[in-house]
């Protein structure tokens, strides 16, 4: 990411920038390694239903300044966990009264509806955001990615 940032900074006369959340998940160990470039912090929903934002150290967006370091962070996932990644078009979707969708509504959706398939949660959040914004014009892209690490199929598990 540091290299990508430097390359972007070399030719950026329009002063554009991008946010990046980069992660590598190893299902053998459950370890998710990630680095942040100014992106909204993804939410980790634990199998029990608790939701936490992935901790980050205020990584800078890419393209703004060369020579920036992007430290690695690590979090351990458990089977049944969900990782929810989103763009600011989700939390900054406005309704006709100029209120933002915000993180609280997003967290509530993730908490209540995160048990099922990844695609179902994406659909659920998207529906919630568009219902909230109603007739207000969309101000930014609405992008969602959910990683679901399913619990193993256990016939008698009862869940």
């Amino acid at each position: 990411m540091a290299r990508t940032n430097d390359v972007l900074c070399e030719q950026n006369p329009m002063d554009l920038f991008v946010t990046v959340f980069y992660c590598i998940f190893d299902p053998a160990t459950g370890v998710l390694r990630y680095a942040d470039g100014g992106h909204n912090p993804p939410y980790l929903r634990r199998a029990g239903g608790s939701v936490e934002a992935l901790s980050r150290a205020g990584g800078l967006v890419l393209g703004a300044m060369p020579g920036i370091e992007y430290p690695n962070h690590t979090v351990h996932l458990q089977r049944g966990d969900r990782l929810v990644l989103y763009t600011d078009g989700v939390t900054e979707a406005f309704n006709p009264a100029d209120e933002a969708y915000g993180v609280e509504r997003l967290i509530a959706e993730v908490q209540e509806h995160g048990d099922g398939a990844a695609a179902a949660l994406v659909e659920r959040i998207y529906t919630s955001v568009t219902a909230f914004s109603g007739t207000a014009p969309q101000s930014d892209d609405i992008t969602l990615t959910v990683l679901a690490w399913h619990a193993p199929q256990a016939p008698a598990a009862g869940r």
Partner: protein, 117 residues
């Protein structure tokens, strides 16, 4: 979005009011460029006082980046101050508060601007 300009000696203060988003970014960009150019001579410092700024989108953030770059090229000291919590969040999340001087109050920003660069 409304923008007010104030001049305090060699320092120009820009006070945006309302929402800085895609719709208002271009105009604010132009106003900042004009403020940086000054009337004949450039100011020694440009401070954006965000006391009345309610919201900054990513398109709005870019205006701050452009202004900071432009100020740097012109040798103009650049800072922002009095960010509302929502705007402060955007500066922190994007990492901008690491590369742009952010002051808690206008007084602190002015004090820093007046001091040795």
């Amino acid at each position: 979005m409304k923008v007010r300009l104030e001049t305090l000696g060699p320092t120009t203060l820009v006070v945006p009011q309302g929402r800085l988003d895609f719709a208002s970014a271009d105009r604010f960009q132009m106003q900042l460029e004009q403020a940086l150019a000054g009337a004949g001579t450039a100011p020694a410092a440009l401070i954006i006082d965000c006391v009345d700024l309610d919201y900054v989108s990513s398109a709005g953030l870019r205006v701050f980046l452009r202004a900071a770059r432009s100020a740097e090229r012109g040798g103009v000291s650049f800072a922002v101050c009095t960010l509302k919590p929502a705007v402060r969040d955007v500066f922190d999340l994007s990492g901008f508060s690491r590369i742009i001087a952010v002051h808690a109050s206008r007084a602190m920003a002015l004090q820093t601007a007046a001091g040795p660069a």
